[in-house]
């Protein structure tokens, strides 16, 4: 017993000493401090700006952030905020169309900070990139190209912002956490000058064409094309109240510069021009490709446009207002063409009507679209989800990949969003020339658009105010649903006329016995435009943070 107890005590003492050593060791352990951890799911800043591949992925992500026309939670919203489309049960669109937009509910017009629409997100990335790239030891050709791309993307973002809001705070350096954030708005001119200067800086850095793997990146042509649009907007009545002719000259020169690149041509087929199958065709200057089967980006074109009878949600429906502006084959507006029969309205119209709009009786995917009552398959008495039926009698056809059946989820097309195409450059040039008094060139360029093989509309021959009206209508039709109308009606200052009329729809009733259809145009949606609506209000959440930000007048 004694022996054992001794042994036990000895063992015990060793054990104790061991434990105490371990204990002290644990407390003061220095071998590898377990608190020194690093993130395993990210790269450190030093690493990123030394590595051309990583920087390129940074740039690529910036491209993804650029707001495009499909990224509207399935409602093509700028078109629903003009006299192009109606958004069904779209409260925020109704508020905006009634002229009742307020700074605290910009909804579809929050191009400031909305997760999908905010341009300042692009600007922030570009500012960070441009502040780091100069000292980066990467391949100089890659560096040059990326500087060109990021410089352009930032300039485009500012151009877009000032087109919505007027002057905005011009931020060109990244902010640090401890900086003073209260910055006042710069003037429209200051911002525009910055945009133009940056576009001039970017153009020489970029190639006219990219290699196959880099298709989709900004080219020199895209820079010049956006410059053309920016100068056109700057010369327009809204931004050029004194009608300074030199501004129109700059706009004309900028458009001509793109034309003179000899890189672009009108694509013969107006309908397939927009589709993924013809992406990067001769007319496309800058486009946003998608691969929605693999990479869903909340841009469900077919789902948001297909008629209910084809499984679509049909959230946007063209208004009778725009249907009325498609000419007849005689080159006249229906109201001016005696041959137009209001009880047979869809015959002999501008081919672009058939390419852009689905109407009652339009052949579509193996049957005719039926928006008539009673029991039209694509009316609110249809068998499939009738609550998703059109409210106007029409569906939007432009952009649809018609090979898709039963759209939804990843079963959708990959129609690219075209930021700018050659037809617009021709229209820009025509408009600038008109304002410079060169009506012949204006008509010439309008007729180039009208004589596209798949369009082939009679030539425009008017002059003066009549020519201006034709010019404006040509732009409305050619660029329908492409996010132009919002800006065009404002810069032309015709919004008080065209946005102050009710939304109209076509009511079609079919006599079940005879099959005869009766067409009635119905005013169904009150709309209003006030002077304050030329500009979008600065978001209230932003003004709340920065007393130096002044609100636009009237809000």
């Amino acid at each position: 017993m004694h022996y054992k107890n001794n042994l036990l005590n000895k063992t015990f003492s060793y054990l104790l000493i061991g434990i105490i050593i371990a204990f002290i060791g644990l407390i003061s352990s220095c071998k590898k401090n377990i608190l020194e951890k690093l993130p395993l799911n990210s790269y450190s800043e030093d690493l990123v700006w030394q590595d051309g591949n990583l920087i390129e992925t940074f740039v690529n992500n910036t491209y993804r952030l650029v707001p495009h026309g499909f990224n509207y939670s399935m409602t093509n919203s700028l078109s629903t905020l003009t006299d192009e489309n109606n958004g069904r049960a779209n409260s925020s669109a109704n508020i905006i169309n009634a002229g009742n937009i307020t700074p605290d509910a910009l909804a579809a017009l929050d191009y400031w900070n909305d997760p999908q629409r905010g341009f300042y997100k692009v600007i922030t990335k570009a500012n960070l990139f441009l502040s780091k790239i100069d000292n980066s030891p990467i391949d100089s050709a890659l560096k040059k190209r990326m500087i060109g791309e990021m410089t352009f993307l930032r300039a485009y973002s500012y151009f877009r912002l000032i087109s919505f809001y007027g002057g905005v705070p011009l931020i060109t350096k990244p902010f640090g956490l401890t900086d003073d954030f209260s910055v006042p708005r710069n003037s429209y001119k200051e911002c525009l000058d910055f945009v133009l200067q940056q576009l001039d800086k970017a153009a020489p850095l970029l190639p006219l064409k990219h290699t196959s793997v880099n298709m989709g990146r900004i080219t020199k042509g895209a820079v010049l094309a956006i410059k053309s649009r920016a100068l056109l907007y700057a010369a327009s009545p809204l931004n050029n109240p004194t009608n300074d002719i030199s501004k129109w000259q700059l706009a004309a020169d900028a458009a001509k510069a793109v034309i003179d690149l000899n890189q672009y041509a009108l694509y013969p087929d107006y309908k397939s021009l927009f589709l993924a199958s013809t992406i990067y065709n001769s007319e496309i200057i800058w486009t946003r490709p998608f691969n929605r089967q693999l990479d869903i980006e909340n841009a469900y074109v077919e789902l948001s446009q297909y008629p209910n009878g084809y499984g679509g949600f049909a959230q946007v429906h063209p208004l009778q207002n725009i249907v009325d502006d498609y000419e007849t084959l005689n080159g006249k507006l229906p109201k001016n063409d005696p041959s137009y029969d209001p009880q047979n309205p869809y015959v002999n119209r501008d081919p672009r009507f058939y390419a852009s709009i689905l109407y009652d009786g339009a052949p579509f995917k193996g049957r005719e679209v039926e928006t008539f009552l009673p029991k039209g398959q694509d009316s609110n008495e249809g068998s499939s989800q009738p609550w998703n039926a059109t409210q106007t009698g029409y569906y939007q056809r432009k952009f649809l990949d018609e090979t898709i059946t039963n759209p939804g989820g990843t079963n959708i097309g990959s129609t690219p969003w075209t930021f700018i195409r050659y037809a617009e450059i021709l229209l820009n040039y025509a408009e600038a020339k008109f304002n410079l008094g060169d009506e012949a060139t204006c008509r010439d360029y309008l007729n180039k658009i009208r004589s596209r093989p798949s369009v082939n509309m009679p030539a425009v021959t008017e002059s003066g105010a009549a020519l201006l009206a034709r010019l404006q209508n040509e732009r409305r039709i050619e660029l329908a649903f492409e996010d132009h109308r919002w800006f065009d009606v404002r810069r032309w200052k015709i919004a008080p006329i065209v946005l102050n009329v009710p939304g109209k729809r076509m009511a079609i009733t079919k006599n079940p016995a005879t099959g005869k259809k009766t067409y009635t145009v119905v005013e169904f949606q009150p709309r209003a435009f006030f002077d304050k609506n030329y500009l979008v209000p600065i978001p209230q959440y932003e003004i709340a943070k920065n007393p130096k930000l002044t609100q636009n007048p009237g809000y």
Binding site: N60, S212, P547
Partner: protein, 1029 residues
Amino acid sequence: MKSKLLPKTLLWIRQKKIKSLWPFLIFVMMVLVYPSKGEAQSSSVIKGTVTDLATHKPIQGVSVLVKGTNRGVSTGSNGEFTIQANKGDALIASFISYENKEVTVGDQNTLNITLSERSSTLEEAVVVGYGTQKKATITGSVATISNKQLKHSPALNLSNALAGQLPGIITSNRSGEPGKDNSTILIRGRSTTGDNSPLVVVDGIQGVSGWERINPNDIESISVLKDASAAIYGAQAANGVILITTKRGSAGKPTISYTMNQGLSQPTRVPKVASSAVFGEFVNELLAKDLQPPRWTADELRKFADGSDPINYPSVNWYNEILKKNTFQSQHNLALRGGGENIKYSVSGSYSNQDGIFKKGSTNFKTYSLRSNIDAQVNKNIKVGFDVNAGIDNGNYPNSSTTNTFGRMLVVPWIPVYWPNGLPSAGIERGDNPAVMVTDATGNVNDMTQRFLLKGSFDINLPFINGLGIDGYFAYTNNTNFNKNFQKPWTVYDYNSVTKTYIPVGGGGILNPQLRESVDRGRSTLLNLRIKYEKRFNDHRLNTFIAAEQEEGMNNDFSAFRRNFLTAAVDQLFAGSLAGQEANGSASERGRKNVFGRVGYGFMEKYLVDFNFRYDGSSIFPQGKQYGFFPGVAVAWRISKEKLFEKIHFIDDLKLRASYGKIGNDRVAPFQYLQAYTLGNQGFNFGSSPTQSLGLIAGVSPNPNITWEVLKTTNLGIDGLLLNGLLGFTVDVFKQERSNILATRDLAVPSYTGLNLPNENIGVVQNKGIEIEISHKKSFNKFSYRIAGNAAFVKSKIIYISEASNVPAWQKAEGHSIGAQNYLKAIGIFRTKEDLQASPKVLGTKVGDLKYEDVNGDGLITFLDNVRLDRTNTPEITFGLNLSMDYNNFSLFANFAGQSNAWQYFHENARLAVNTREELLLNRYTPGSMDSKYPILPLLDTRTDVSGLSSTFWLRDASFVRLKTLELSYSIPQSLLSKIKVSGLRFYLNGNNLITIDKLKIYDPEASNERGNFYPQSKIYNLGLNLTF
């Protein structure tokens, strides 16, 4: 060697009882009972058994004393005793945690005594951080619940069994979905704008996930540290600490205990949706508003209303068609516990199975767990323990999320669920027929978590210094989550009434099946060592330790995805297409290192002081900001021990407590002091054939100063026990100030800065409250009862928070509760054109819209008229009432829980395709109405319509009282059981959420989904039995 010291008989008992206890027991009983006849006359030998009043089990170790003498014995393992006493003597039976009982000796020589358990005895041991304390001498504010109380609830989720049982603990059960039905738990309310969840410690392991799935039968007790007593957990403890102690073996015969529960659950409440007639009329009204033709003629509406043509004009209640009346759930627990002097063991296995409430639904949740531990006394001074716990949670769900499914149940009522030929209808759109969406036709989501814990511990008394010891443990945990998401397209049908054909509609948004599998594996090691010293000398008692702990964790995950399966027959990755396959993976690491300790000192158990501290280090923060010191001190004065109180007999115990401490909260994303860039599938589809590509995104702007939140907590308390234990009470008042709150400055920093803001230590919040607990109990001969009530009030107030500088004073968050939102004050509905014209209004307001208060008096209703209101869905007042009664072998338990000063916002709306509650539609504004309850109904999910703006109109009072638990149980008498060699058999019938009294009425008052699209909470009826042998 040691066994020689024991009497031979005991040795015999020890050996025998392991093999077969029953013959021995019976033998003892015979020995005890038979010879008692014909014993001595004057000073007779009294024999008897002491049993528990409630369980009827014998109690070992009860001291039985002849009153006024020193003569006493203690009961043996069967509760038997033998004592010399005279007729007329009083025997006092006393035992820890039981009420003393006095019995007078009569003529008989046998005297059986029953003891009733004390529920708040002062001797009861309460688990506190790293140790236990006697209830009488505890200094902090600690709420406890024992195994006994927990077991009354049939809820399969432990977090749902706590409601109303612990003062100051707020539980909110937001969903009843199996496997996803955890209650959110708040201790003393919300005191940070960040993560408010308490630290959960299970048997010394901190931050345990899945604790909600521990079987209540395996739990010994739960303690909640509410004040500075939590300081011992340092930087993780500011939201309070929940300590769960599970059962271990105890010396005694091996006990096998089996518990079975078989329950039926029902949704507590589902909305009553509108019929076809009501909704059809509403649809016509909506269409008319847009100058659209009506959908239904008056004749058709009449057919809906009178049901005369149910085939063509049906009125379907989709909830009734899709939800089952009753859903089964079951739970089993089998445990073996026991041990001898040197080895004690506990092994317990549990299983539970919970079905979903959907007809033909694929929702099912099963848990399996094994908890085992062995404690061995190696010699007089060394004790070691070894724990192995393993658990599996296995949930299967349909592919559509429940929020989505419940949203889709609001389909228009004139569409049948199935067409007359049995084909499913197409539902709202995209083939979303919820009757199909709840089945495995959509594929299956299998979510399985495996938990594994190994723990070794030791406890050594150092023989050379009395009272000095070392203990510690090492734990390894490995938790793995497997998620397998198999998605299948399905087909449903529209019916074309013109051509009389069924039109197939694809559901699921995909053309071919696809599968995503992911594995997330987390491992951690915890090492804890402690030197402790505990000493009593004369009236002084010192209890102190210093300890060190180190924790290291590592997580890694990966996932793989393939699409376009040729067939749905095999749901494995190989079967998917190679084109477009994806793989992903990542990892993270964390470390924690700290020193902590306690000095507890008591003088005569009268003056008590405990000092806790922790010096805590965490890898979440940058060097130099990693370590913090968190002290907590608590003092108590048992005033009833003072001389003055000797004469005040009705006070048994009275204790005043005070505590103050500084605790941390580090629940925040790590590495915010670094500028990191993450790479993901966020690139751009360049190239002539666009495909996915990587994009790099900058993380938060680095904040080099980031550190933990600091809570300064002050608590004053009083505990009392009056009238010989008839009445007990505890009152605590507290004030907490949370500073350095980790919040982002996104309300203050303009978004044009583009800053991705990190958490910064900027907020200050104050919480004040009071908690009261009162209990009363009494026992008669065969009847005893206990009533315990508790109530708590807590209100938070933001002292400072980063917010927009340029907003009106009435919109500032400062001075308001956490979570307080801005609302327009609804003051009625516009009934007339005149009123509309004369009143301030929102642009676009029509007659029938809500009328709001013009707070700033500028004649318009704009964002400036929003007012911040302290109406959040975190209740300010919570209360509970527990009743228990025992009569003979019957016992009854009831637990009511409730809340008040809680509000929930419901954005109620309806549109062409989306049905809603019938009551809402029936009481909507219609032109000309002068007294409709509701205004023009908002149309959309977003709060943009004039009447759908965030306003007080849609803010509902979520106060309620509900009978959370009711249990009636019956124990089969011992006399019957002994014949079948069973030592205990109890049957019970219990229920959960049986009665609810509330103001909300339309949804369950614990709901938090503002559209009402959630899996309803359950009402459970359960039958159970507990068998011990």
